[in-house]
Amino acid sequence: MLRRASGLLARPILAARARPFSTDLPAAQTADATFVEAWKKVIPNMDPPKTPLSFMQPRPPTPSSIPSKLTVNFVLPYASELATKEVDMVIVPATTGQMGILPGHVATIAELKPGVLSVHEGSDVTKYFISSGFVFIHANSFADIIAVEAMPLDQIDASLVQKGLADFTQKLSSATTDLEKAEGQIGIDVHSALNSALTG
């Protein structure tokens, strides 16, 4: 009986591999229907165990017309800044440049560089400085922005930024190994981004 159970469990996994991109999925189910039916046939007296699917909130389906608001989840490792907040637009600092995300944006995964994230809601604009991270835009106008470190611009100290920029410029010019050069370059990139965030 245990061997059959492992065979039954294998079937839903095979079905998952055949799916196309995860950003294109229709509404996700809350319980694995085939697993539950198969369980009931073999072990009718016990309740089927809950699979991870039933613990997750289902992904809202991609609506047929473009929604009017973009739903943003902005998370950090230690806090959730914005959780399913409905906004008009966000501008993220992608490695390919400032990217504006409006409702109905095509599904995209973008890597972020150190820069300013601005959240536009009506006429309010909230700006955060992000150290680096990723943004996942789903077809149903949900955007997940994940960053390692982010803070509002007024928490940044301009004199420390200038000092850091000078330090790293000096470090880059005196660097010998590739790794030191890379670290120097990273320092310069981050501090110049901080600088333009404070002045821009």
Partner: protein, 70 residues
């Protein structure tokens, strides 16, 4: 498979993305204003005990409290 995008400079220098991302985060944290800076530094402290194993037995554990400086 040919390289599709230009390889970032830190990758050619042998650094992984996680190292790059952590370095960026540390640099940004060091540029914070005072009350936020101490909170951020305490947030990233790790405190753990290490014991080396030799001949299948653990030696006496040592306790380390690292903050996020490299």
């Amino acid at each position: 498979m040919a390289s599709n995008a230009a390889v970032p400079f830190w990758r050619t220098a042998g650094m992984t993305y996680i190292t790059y991302s952590n370095i960026c985060a540390n640099l940004v944290r060091n540029c914070l204003k005072e009350p936020y800076k101490t909170e951020a530094l305490s947030r990233e402290k790790v405190h753990f005990s290490i014991s080396k194993w030799t001949n299948g037995k653990p030696e006496k554990p040592t306790i380390r409290s690292d903050s996020s400086e490299e």
